[in-house]
């Protein structure tokens, strides 16, 4: 340690005021300063106020510098320092260093994300000689619930669902002691004063864990799981459903009762050692699993042991998380096998958070529930991350990540307050304030009435938590997104301007903003591949090459527009897309003549093709879509994957990716990758990706009885090659006159880039072509990130409008 413990004799004494901004309240920041200041021997005080933390300190310049260095070097685990500014202070400070009782002034707390239990707390609950032994709600300033329990600001116990639990004497002492890890830990509790866990039977019949001679209710819940029961668990951000992940019968029952066909179940294991028996865990995957965000990490399945196929039907990955609350840690203490830990809900509804609702809905699924008497104030799903292209990528951003703010890039410092309403199916919203963006946790499908209610509730909560008063609203251009309708209503109601933003442009700028691309940077090529989004021309887009910056975009390339017979129904039933693609490319007679021997011909022939063909012919409820996602559906269906129906969004593509032969990927030459060409659209002259060659090669492979994993590999390779070729073609335009390329940077966004094989292939090829490639990691590439892009575009728009006004005046 280089901090001097005594004042060097010759140094003059000065008094300064140090302003710390960022996420510095409710995270143990003041006691950290207090400890450092005392160690260094500074006089002064530190307290919270409306702008963050203020420190007044008197001492030698070197001592003050040491204080700042130490804060920067080792801030409390949950803190995030945005800035530290020092200036002279001419007031008085007493001797010694103190934390005055908060003057009830306007403190503005940036609420932290919920954080996994820290090591110190974890040690306490397993130590029979301390008072929190086996206490399932143990936490401190460095860990525990935050967003999930908060109801309003300022963040203190009274505004959280800990309010009904007054501190006991012992906890109160810790809470008031700056030297204690629990100094001002608003959610601190113990056996005496805090919430209690209880195992109940949903049918109300008496149940006592003593009859099973278990340690306590939490332990008894595990015994039930081990016996093959499904147990509902009131967790941090919502109810969960748990069962033994090695018990095929229990899993089948859970699937049936939850009415969840094939969507993969998340797993929880006691520790990394258990996980490693079933999946490969790399160094940064292990780091993610044990991080304080504690997400579900998608891991490559494979190890000494296997789990039943129904955990993740047709997929090659398993979604594992580790216990991140004391309750889960205690629950799994004796469990050497993984457990299914899936959200407590029916089919597509949001996770249940209320006890009455749980009793009503989950009692049809589970007989027992491990509950407790602390309310879940806010629903927060488990987050999902996956390692792709050498980095961890957030696929679903919720618990542990939200509501942490993201600094907007250079140029956005003066952005006014903006509220962006996001998308529809994987919706989230975004607030802009003080040059930062606050992206909400994943909300889900707004067409579901409960999700929609929750989305509105969260909008109100965030606006209160962040003291947010938008001067403008942003929403998707889609006329029927419920989020857009809500934004339109709010704009009219509050008299605010509404900025409507094209879906793929928002994807693109979400990627730019996340990567800190400055406001005034040159446009990039944004390759946005997803399912469907409303295009600027009113058509449906979904595979787009945009020359884009925050201020605007030009669509300079696309995927082939192909009809979707039955519109949304075609997104659910991949055979429709397959049929539409084949009709667009070769027509039924040619397909029948050349490929009648194929299974896929027989399968298609069994469908009501007369009507579907008539629909295509008369363009009846069959909109054209230039969608990459639909191309994936069609290709997957051609090898029999989800031919009839997808059980969940993106299933066909996920399973197609899962079967890709890694041997073919690695060893086979490029000449066998399926060929896709890049002609120009007749109507607009726009270059597009034409899959005709791909279809001929793929169907030819089927004739040759080429295994599906090889076909899947050749498809991914071919598509990646075509995407890179398109990028190169678009960049080079103008080369003839020796002009520089139109762009040197490429941004990748859209849900299709959550396909690891496609993503890594495209990334590799573009980097090999010397492009700088921007990708998502902190925000989802899918629609979960769209709100951030909307916010950035709206901010750019308003900043420019403000500059124009200033110029004019």
């Amino acid at each position: 340690m280089n901090t001097p413990l005594r004042t060097p004799f010759a140094e003059p004494i000065q008094t300064v005021e140090i302003r710390v901004r960022g996420r510095v309240q409710g995270v143990g920041f003041r006691p950290a300063i207090w400890r450092i200041a005392r160690k260094i021997g500074l006089d002064g005080e530190t307290f919270n106020d409306g702008e963050g933390v203020l420190i007044r300190a008197r001492g030698a310049a070197s001592q003050i510098a040491a204080l700042i260095d130490d804060i920067r070097a080792a801030p409390p685990p949950l803190a995030e320092i945005a800035s530290i500014d020092t200036r002279d202070y001419h007031g008085d400070v007493g001797s010694g260093f103190v934390i005055p009782e908060s003057s009830s002034g306007a403190t503005r707390t940036e609420v932290s994300p919920d954080a996994a239990i820290c090591e110190a707390c974890a040690a306490e609950i397993f130590d029979p000689f301390v008072r929190r032994f086996r206490y399932p709600f143990t936490n401190c300033t460095h860990c525990g619930p935050r967003l999930s329990i908060v109801r309003s600001v300022p963040y203190d116990r009274a505004t959280t669902s800990m309010a009904p639990f007054p501190l006991c004497e012992a906890c109160g002492g810790e809470y008031r002691d700056p030297a204690d890890r629990r100094f001002h830990a608003e959610a601190t509790a113990c056996h005496v004063c805090g919430p209690r866990a209880k195992l109940i039977r949903f049918d109300g019949r008496a149940f006592s864990f003593e009859q099973h001679s278990m340690l306590d209710d939490v332990d008894a819940a595990l015994s039930l799981i081990q016996k093959g029961e499904i147990v509902a668990i009131k967790a941090l951000g919502g109810y969960q459903l748990a069962c033994d992940a090695t018990n095929a019968e229990a899993i089948a029952t859970l699937r049936e009762r939850k009415r969840r066909d094939r969507k993969p179940f998340a797993l929880m294991a006691r520790d990394l050692e258990v996980v490693r028996r079933y999946a490969t865990v790399g160094a940064d995957e292990a780091a993610a699993l044990t991080s304080r965000e504690a997400p579900i990490v998608l891991l490559v399945a494979g190890g000494s042991e296997r789990l039943p196929d129904q955990i993740a039907p047709g997929l090659a990955t398993l979604g594992f998380m580790l216990p991140s609350t004391p309750l889960h840690l205690l629950l799994l203490r004796r469990m050497t096998r993984p457990v299914v830990m899936t959200s407590g809900n029916l089919s597509d509804e949001p996770q249940v958070i209320g006890d009455a609702e749980a009793a009503q809905k989950l009692s049809a699924i589970a007989s027992y529930a491990l509950i407790h008497n602390r309310e879940i104030a806010n629903r927060i799903d488990d987050s999902v991350v996956r390692r792709m292209g050498g980095r961890l990528r957030v696929l679903r951003r919720a618990r542990g990540y939200a509501p942490a703010s993201i600094a907007l890039p250079q140029g956005f410092e003066k952005a006014p307050e903006i509220l962006a309403y996001g998308g529809e199916l994987k919706s989230s919203f975004c607030l802009v304030k003080d040059g930062r963006a606050v992206l909400s946790q994943h909300q889900g499908d707004l067409e579901d009435a409960l999700t929609y209610d929750d989305y509105r509730k969260n909008l109100a909560l965030y606006r209160e938590l962040f003291d947010h008063r938008p001067t403008a609203l942003a929403a998707d251009l889609h006329p029927d997104y419920l989020s857009s309708k809500l934004a339109r209503m709010a704009a009219t109601g509050d008299g605010l301007p509404l900025i409507e933003i094209q879906h793929h442009h928002a994807h693109a700028t979400a990627c730019l903003a996340e990567n800190g691309r400055p406001l005034d940077a040159a446009p990039v090529l944004a390759i946005v591949l997803d399912g469907l989004g409303y295009g600027a021309d009113g058509a449906i887009w979904g595979g787009e090459f945009l020359l884009a910056d925050y201020r605007g975009f030009e669509r300079i390339g696309t995927f082939k527009p192909v009809a979707m017979p039955g519109a949304a129904q075609a997104a659910r039933e991949p055979w429709r897309n397959l049929y539409a693609h084949l009709m667009a490319e070769m027509g039924w007679p040619a397909f029948a003549m050349n490929f009648a021997e194929l299974d896929v011909f027989a399968a298609l022939s069994a469908k009501p093709l007369a009507t579907v063909q008539a629909m295509l012919k008369s363009a009846f409820n069959s909109p054209q879509a230039s969608s990459c996602g639909r191309l994936f559906d069609a290709a997957a269906a051609s090898v029999g994957l989800c031919f009839d129906r997808q059980a969940y969004e993106g299933e066909a593509a996920a399973r197609f990716e899962a079967i890709v032969s890694s041997k073919t990927m690695a060893e086979e030459g490029e000449e066998l990758a399926y060929p896709l060409s890049i002609p120009n659209l007749k109507s607009s002259g726009l270059p597009y990706i034409e899959p005709l060659g791909m279809w001929n090669a793929l169907l030819g492979d089927l004739i040759l009885k080429t295994p599906a994993p090889v076909i899947a590999a050749r498809f991914h390779k071919g598509l990646a090659r075509a995407i890179a070729a398109m990028a190169l073609k678009l960049a080079r335009r103008g080369d003839a006159e020796g002009r520089p390329p139109r762009f040197d940077t490429i941004a990748l966004s859209g849900g299709c880039f959550q396909n690891k094989v496609l993503f890594e292939k495209v990334l590799g090829r573009l980097q090999a072509l010397d492009f700088e490639v921007l990708t998502h990691s902190r925000t989802p590439a899918n629609d979960g990130g769209v709100a951030l892009g909307q916010a950035a575009i709206a901010a750019a728009h308003l900043i420019d409008a403000g500059a124009d006004r200033r110029k004019a005046s």
Partner: protein, 330 residues
């Protein structure tokens, strides 16, 4: 049909066709207007244009539709329809036989409904300036004393009744679009509902808040309109809505939602809760309300949403759609 110079004879011919088909003394007077005495009470008036392809479909044609549609618009105010007026825009070259058939079916529909078409007009337009034939009908009617039905009268707690199976008309029409090529036995439900309405008004009286026929945009759109007007929400039980298996299957195939498919002989009734059971029973005793069902209730909802409880027990928002059913899936 021809247009232009030789048109005079033609116009006469057309007039003859309609006069014969409609056959009533007021029309026979040959005036440019109909003159009649009006009964005491509250009068209602409504007009509608009919543009449909194909012109003939199972269970009806543009002629019967033009009569039923306007009678229903009158009847939804609780009124007894008195007279109809009709106007035709006919494209040059339109087959006379088809016109005769349409006129015949209009006459039939009007006679069955007990409402005469008392005045009318025809125009022939150049080839390419019309689509076969367009019909506009106007009707007037009188509301019995004590009845006041209007779109803003729904209150939270009121019950929602549908008079029968939904989607029949829309699917029957789609099935006959030659180019859609699927077969079905379904008939359009096109019918005049004022008889049923009279019976409903008799039974429920002032407990009846409002009636509306869920034509274009279907049940979901109609409920959304009412929700807007009344400032309420609706909670509808998907399982209680009568949908024929055939309609469900056709909608699944075409990628349509039966809630948004048109009806021409159905009505939605909003009624005070305590009168709901009696009303449904009375409707079921009437031939046009045999399959009437209680499908939900109005709720207090500042968002004015129509919500559907699904068979899974979840709730889905069935909002208005801007034109086509644009997929929202990403």
């Amino acid at each position: 049909l021809s247009h232009g110079a030789g048109g005079r004879a033609m116009a006469q011919l057309i007039d003859e066709i309609f006069r014969e088909a409609f056959d009533n003394p007021m029309l026979d007077q040959g005036n440019d207007q109909a003159a009649f005495d009006v009964p005491a009470g509250r009068m209602v008036m409504s007009t509608d244009g009919y543009v449909i392809s194909p012109l003939f479909f199972p269970g009806g044609d543009i002629g019967s539709l033009a009569v039923h549609g306007t009678i229903n618009d009158i009847a939804m105010a609780g009124a007894r329809p008195l007279h109809l007026a009709a106007s035709y825009i006919i494209e040059e070259g339109f087959p006379l036989a088809d016109l005769q058939r349409i006129a015949g079916s209009m006459g039939c529909a009007a006679r069955d409904a007990g409402v005469a078409i008392v005045t009318g007009d025809t125009k022939v337009v150049e080839r390419g300036k019309g689509d076969g034939v367009f019909i506009a009908t106007t009707g007037i009617g009188v509301v019995p004393p004590g009845l006041h039905l209007s779109g803003e009268r729904a209150r939270p707690g009121d019950r929602v009744i549908i008079s029968g199976y939904i989607g029949d008309h829309g699917v029957a029409v789609m099935s006959t679009r030659r180019d859609l090529g699927f077969e079905t036995e379904l008939l359009s439900d096109s019918a005049a509902l004022h008889g049923l309405v009279a019976e409903m008004a008799r039974v429920a009286g002032s407990s009846l808040r409002l009636l509306r026929d869920p034509t274009r945009g279907g049940l979901a759109t109609t409920l959304n309109e009412i929700a807007q007007q009344s400032g309420v929400g609706f909670l509808i039980d998907e399982g209680a809505i009568p949908v024929r298996a055939e309609v469900a299957a056709a909608c699944e195939l075409l990628g349509l939602d039966p809630l948004y498919v048109a009806n021409e002989g159905k009505l939605v009734a909003i009624v005070a809760p305590d009168a709901a059971e009696t009303l449904v029973a009375a409707m079921r005793a009437h031939p046009l309300g045999r399959d009437a069902a209680l499908i939900g209730e109005a709720t207090a909802d500042e968002q004015r949403f129509v919500q559907m409880t699904t068979s899974f027990g979840g709730g889905r928002i069935a909002d208005w759609l801007m034109g086509e059913q644009l997929p929202r899936i990403c």
